[in-house]
């Protein structure tokens, strides 16, 4: 099993006709993902390499049975794209776009949570989600992930997510699902949402968590792991040497007023029984130990 998406998931792409949407939409299809539709009101009736384009998400859903949307719309249009997808009844809306204003993120997160409680948002500013061998929705290079489990990965950083997948593959360890929750201030899906799903997934036997400086998401995850998780977890936090007060690229990655430091996060995770590595390679090695220790 995998969490959130698998080989039966039908996906439509908002922004399939744009250059990024097309490149990754087709690449996701080549991977084996059921890419069933694109949405663009101006190009309805056309197709992208055989994938039909519809005017609205609702029409695309009606015609194809898609339940997941992947958003490649430029930042100014993301709020209306997400709300359209939620209104049309998408179960999961994966927002790849970076640079979405925080006010928009806060608004559509709360709007969807209240009015469309069955819709989960992933992102914005995330690499997407991959259940290796089953479905790849987003910008992860599929070949760097080994299918089959037993490890689940959840990460705030895109490139570090790839790094984690790759480290595990080099050790011949498979992944059930890898979720990139994104580095923005208001992520639609949290660490805890993913940890909860991994805890409930029988095929996932251990979880790797990749966090970074800023905010308190890692501390909250540590609390959850301590109290609610039975499965072993390894972790890595990026930004150990980041200077305070400087945004390290991600809108969320900033150490301010002594809060959000990597040291505090690592301590909270260690205290929760998590094996914390000092770099992605070390976290990967710790996961190898965990997996071997489980006799897998």
């Amino acid at each position: 099993m995998a969490i959130f998406v698998d080989e039966n998931t039908k996906v439509l792409y908002q922004g399939l006709t744009g250059s990024q949407g097309k490149f990754y939409g087709l690449r996701n299809r080549d991977y084996g993902t059921q890419v069933v539709a694109g949405v663009n009101p101006k190009k309805a009736g056309t197709d992208v390499d055989g994938i039909p384009v519809y005017a609205t998400v609702a029409e695309a859903k009606e015609a194809t049975g898609a339940t997941v949307s992947c958003v490649f719309i430029p930042a100014p249009g993301v709020q209306s794209a997400v709300l359209e997808a939620a209104e049309a009844g998408m179960e999961l809306v994966v927002v790849i776009t970076e640079g979405v204003p925080a006010q928009d993120e806060a608004y559509f997160f709360n709007k969807v949570k209240r009015d469309f409680p069955n819709t989960r948002i992933l992102g914005p500013n995330c690499p997407g989600i991959i259940s290796p061998g089953k479905a790849n929705i987003g910008i992860t290079a599929g070949e760097i992930a080994k299918p089959g489990g037993p490890v689940g990965i959840v990460s705030r950083s895109g490139t570090l997510t790839y790094q984690a997948l790759y480290e595990l593959k080099l050790q011949d360890i498979g992944v059930t699902t890898c979720v990139g929750i994104g580095g923005d201030p208001v992520p639609g899906t949290s660490f805890i949402d993913c940890l909860e799903a991994f805890e409930a997934d029988p095929e996932t036997k251990a979880v790797m968590l990749i966090g970074e400086i800023g905010g308190s998401a890692e501390e909250e995850a540590a609390e959850f792991i301590k109290n609610k998780m039975t499965k072993p977890v390894s972790a890595y936090i990026a930004g150990v040497t980041a200077p305070p007060g400087k945004k390290m690229g991600h809108a969320g990655a900033i150490v301010s007023g002594g809060k959000g430091t990597a040291a505090a996060k690592m301590e909270a995770l260690t205290d929760a029984g998590v094996k914390v590595g000092n770099n992605p390679t070390e976290a990967g090695e710790l996961m190898v130990e965990i997996v071997r220790g489980l006799g897998l």
């Binding site: 990024q20 709007k111 580095g183 208001v186 909250e220 930004g239 040497t241 991600h250």
Partner: protein, 379 residues
Amino acid sequence: MDLLEYQGKQFFATYDIPVSEGEAVTTVEDAVAAADRIGYPVVVKAQVHVGGRGKAGGVKLAANTAEAREHAEFILGLDIKGHIVKTVWIESASDIAEEYYASFTLDRAAKKHLGMLSAEGGVEIESVAETNPDAIAKIWIDPVDGLSEETARSWVEAANLNPAANDGAVDILLKLYRAYTEGDCDLCEINPLILKPTGEVHALDAKVTFDGNAEFRHEGWDVIDATQIRDEREQAAHDKGLQYVGLDGSVGVIANGAGLAMSTVDIVNQVGGSPANFLDIGGGANAEVMAGALEVINNDPNVKSIFINIFGGITKGDEVANGIVTALGRVQIDAPIVIRIDGTNAEQGRAILAEHASDKLQSKSTMIEAAKTAVELAK
């Protein structure tokens, strides 16, 4: 983007939030002329992107022209925690009966807007939060609902201000919330928010941070952007649209993605080196971006080696490799480059680099190996 006090006040004024009349000037002569126009007493206030300017002597009251001149001469050019004062704001002095604190920001854990109001203003809110947390009245606002007058009123009542301030505070907070949301702010803070002896409530200071991601829907932000404090390297990177933070080591770092860039900086430290910078070329970076990044790093005289760490997702390995080759053809890069590429189109990228391999350009297969090599070369 952090606004200077006067920019914040001008922003507040567009939402009818009462602020003192004033002028921003950059010379002593202009300061004196502005003070004379405004009428005494005036306050001469240093405009810097750093707190604690009062203690540093950057805020002074002037009762007449001679004092205005004396203070402007002292404050212009003053070094406040490494920030040289280039602009002063001259404003009409206010009589103060009481000082409060008010702010809006995003509470990332709650995923809602957080409003804070306190009867204990004029001091750092962090210290109030530590010593007397009950003195801060907090409300969490769902962005879908917004802030209603009724909610604002009960919030103000909970803060136990002087009752004479309540009506004025409600009015200002409603306007401040509009400014915060419509203005795409990460932070809107008034400290102190004052009650005058005459009963008016007034914003005596303004601390505002704009969310740079929202620049596309706001006019005039380029003016604010131009007053941001960046060192030369940061400015050059900013002009090329790169995410750059200057550090003080000798290994230039280029990576794609904020997480990987942070991790690269960490690893350089862990293997005994010291990074010269954090530089994220972002998602989907092409040859042009890569060439620009190398130019920025190349202009840093402290850089003795360059570590390029790429894991292709939306960024393609072959384009990165082409960028490096382009940059090498375009500018004389003195420091040796160590590169590690994995992910999307990594093989094509490595093949392109192999054609140009030299003692100035080498490829390593793991992050740690590449970091060690770069650190060694920087010695």
